[in-house]
Subunit: 338 residues, 4 copies
């Protein structure tokens, strides 16, 4: 049994992680840390867990009793936490925040199993990808690796409200968000960093550089990811389209085959021959991808559940990989479907 | 032209009142008071009003320039406000809070036009009924007046999220409320006060006393209004059923006729021969009522838009009555329907 | 491994049953019958199942190869089917329709595990309870058994749209149902039959008869279940309140204890000390119940997922019982929570 | 008073048109034609109209008694109708279908008041623009006229379910569409015809041709409108983004000014300096537009209510123009806002 500790256990991702791990056949939750809720039952906060566990939140962090710690903090807090606390070297870390997703003076592996499964299997520290980043990347990886990206890429992605976290705000108020639609962080979403990092890592030599416009600006040489995030009026899921102008003409069948080959070994990412709808993946760890070809352009549709494949589902998938378990263990989730 | 001042103009009811009055043919808005928003355009807060008005919020209250003031405060603040401020005798007041709905040492008329139109027409100060209270009362008034109430009344009413106001809270978070359902203030909702006051006022001599359980407790002699409020996962509207056991047998036709007669002169409250659905009234000032009879029991369905007939629509209706205008002026609203 | 055949496999309940059974550790699906879809992949209809199974619908019914058959027909078709087809005596039947829920000239056990687990464990043929019937019964069983029901019972239950099945209709049109609310089959819902049957079966001698108003009319002697079903604007779940006037005074603690004792051994039905919200149970097989006491009245809140505990989840629970498996096998479902 | 006849009066647009015209100060409805509903009250179908009108559907078409006829047919039926029926020359026609939107052997003016108000004022026959077409055009017109369109345009537009009409279908089933998201008619939506027609009409000489890919294919010379339509899980409204690469660098201020100037005289289309959200326009006839500039790219957001500015609201606006009435008459609609 893998012994697990959870930091930030009272938030949205913390709760979803607990819901997953309680049914995971190879996992034991050792502690669920939340200072403000210490002493309360986990089901006092994550109310659906009533009668499923008597686990209590704790303000302690007995790192010596666990094999792995999940960081379910808000962004920026993981790095700060590690400056103030010391975690034994033999304890693995899976960080759900964005603090270590970009390569730098750290040893965190960027945990997108579709491309980094081998590295993840050997690593001690793993940075779990962002939700938009996961959805957009699974839509673009095969084209990037084949060197087919040639022009600016139009990316439009609609996210559910759980992507905005638990804290009530004007834009998460039901009266406002219900039946509403809006954009935010237009062309400026922080996930562009990790998306561009991956696309540049994957591209064959000679293929054009993908510009991280947040760092390099809009006039830098190369192709850009023109990413528009939308707030949808649903709670779970990300639905994304990516329009790519190919560097050379391809048939619809060739593109479909490219994706099928690329994801042949993926545990949760699949190509669909039919058009997609979001509820096929809601409440599961699956990512589904579909393509259509018009002249030199490919329109990709990709979608995930933002809390699962876009957050804790993928984190558990990564844990499975890191500990040599069945990659799907604990992740045979029934789709909600309706 | 009736000159209007609005206090609490930046809240939900304040905004809806401005949206109504801008199209009212006989009204001029003199000031819209909001201390925290003073100097801002009204459309900065109530964003749909862009290009409809250049009106700005003010922290001033020039009562000498207006004919009527609307109090769009939270509950309890109206009375407090009047202790600290003096409003000229010739300025009419319409209070949307609950501060003066119960008879006492004040001269406020309870402004339910279905029963108090004549008093409202002559009054200086008017207490606008609560949203649940309006919906439940229009469902029960004809039976109460006919002395047909004999047993405890089962009242179930589902409200939209705008009933909870503008301030973000856990139970107004989209992620929580979407697709969710719950009850609150079970058998304890404060609107019971005004409902019981009206039912007792209307009942013929000899008919049983209606117990205000909040004041008199559950063991007092008489019949009770067993009111369960539900939080629905929609933004606007109240849908209510009232189950009444009649003091004497009546046919379905007799009950229907009783309602039709009672509301023959009502400007906005109508009896429908067919079953109802909430969106018939959403975004209008209408109240619709339908009845079915089973043995000695009547099941009443009543419904309103909580922000309109349940709040500012009725307030404007009352203003029209108080100033001798057409009762429907400014209230010919297109239903949203979908 | 239990070998399973499914009739009516292309409908809502058929699809949900397949989604459950694919992850059930002790089950093998032998055939999924749907005449109109014969030859198609199951994931062509139940689209979320892409990449989870290559199972195809069949128009064959090889009863000799299975241990149990699930009838996922519309109501009334099960009985008709059995007149035209012969199923071997050793094959168990679980019927999800209402055809055999009322006792009569058949050997079907009414499969509500909270009261009939022992009978179910020994039976060959089982009638799975209705969705409303399950939710309302778990709310009333402890009071019925204790003989505390004394007066007409006010039952208000709100159901999601999946309760209305797969066939598009005016009242399932998104444009109509979204943000809408309505009642239907007022005081006339067919589930009253099975509810009354159970309440009368459970009540101690001397306690008042519960009138099945559909059969006996509204003037028969006894107490009635005044059931108002509502169409909610969500897809999954039933949220129900039951107001009961007790035959003798009880404290809130006594009532809570009564429920806790009654459900002490229940696998999926639990008493909650806190107020409930529907999403605690959505996408799970759980039923949650909560009570509050006001004078002589108890207000019960009960809730389930209509497709799971209200249909196929309970059917699988019953299958587990009938085959001596762990009652929870295949039913460790992660709540969708949001 | 303008005397109005309505054909196809029982559908979604027919109903919305009646809801508008009943409150229009200068209009009298002479007949509302619906063969299948002849003799029924209008409020039997459009149920919110109870107590607002006693108008009945008729199967007659007394064209000699009206000044204008609205065609609220499905697409393709208007032209067929006119082949079989003769409408007097002095009766104006406003066709809401797409039959006459493209120039050809007919005298219909394409009724987008933002560019064709003068022609509309003089015309007998008017083709009312499509909903997506209106929303996308108001987003692109100023750039097109200024000759700033230079590259393929990425258009993403999300529509509410009322865009799909009244007939129940799998993709309008509440259980499917609620919380769901999908695309349809990818790069193939029929409104591309009218959009391209307008953009080419407006562009200065020398600016690149806009390719109607439906007619000319994806390899034709020029720039394309890469339009992805999405099904949103709300009932009313279209929210659209258009990403344009400018032919020459412009500041954010210059672009904003371009839009403000272009729409200075528009009755319902306005530029907003702030980011938009859909509910600002829902239930109104307004179109709102906002722009942001990133390097050489402009991201435009445009939005309308699909049934109003995208259909009958614009039709009434056109009627007002055609009859010399105040362009806003009957269209002072209160936003639903929530």
């Amino acid at each position: 049994m893998v012994k697990v500790g959870i930091l930030g256990a009272a938030g949205y991702t913390g709760g979803e992680l607990i819901r997953l791990l309680l049914n995971h056949p190879e996992v034991e939750i050792i502690f669920a840390n939340s200072e403000s809720n210490a002493g309360n039952k986990v089901y006092d906060v994550h109310e659906g867990l009533i009668c499923e566990t008597e686990l209590e939140f704790t303000d302690e962090m007995p790192f010596d009793k666990v094999d792995v710690v999940f960081f379910c903090f808000g962004h920026g807090k993981s790095e700060a936490f590690l400056k103030e606390h010391s975690i034994p070297q033999n304890v693995k870390i899976i960080d759900l925040a964005q603090d270590f997703r970009i390569k730098g003076a750290h040893d965190y592996v960027y945990g997108l199993p579709e491309i980094h499964r081998a590295e993840a299997a050997k690593c001690q520290h793993l940075a779990n990808p962002g939700c938009f980043a996961t959805c957009i990347q699974v839509g673009l990886l095969p084209l990037a690796k084949a060197g087919l990206l040639t022009n600016d890429i139009a990316v439009n992605a609609i996210t559910g409200s759980t992507g905005a976290g638990q804290k009530p705000a004007a834009t998460t108020h039901f009266s406002w968000r219900s039946d509403n639609f809006s954009v935010y962080k237009l062309f400026n979403h922080q996930h562009l960093h990790e998306i561009c990092q991956t696309l540049n890592e994957l591209k064959p030599q000679g293929a054009p550089h993908v510009v991280d416009t947040l760092d390099e600006g809009f006039d830098a040489e190369g192709i850009t990811v023109d990413f528009i995030p939308y707030r949808g009026d649903f709670a779970r899921g990300i639905f994304c389209t990516e329009v790519v102008k190919l560097s050379e003409a391809k048939t619809a069948e060739e593109i479909a085959q490219l994706y099928k080959d690329f994801y042949a070994d993926a545990a949760f990412t699949h190509y669909s021959d039919k058009a997609l709808d979001l509820k096929q993946v809601v409440n599961t760890n699956k990512a589904l991808v579909h393509t259509e070809v018009f002249g030199r352009k490919v329109v990709v549709t990709s979608m995930i559940d933002n809390l699962l494949k876009g957050a804790v589902g993928q984190a558990v998938q990564n844990m499975n990989i890191m500990f040599g378990l069945d990659e799907k263990a604990g992740l045979h989730l029934k789709a909600s479907a309706f």
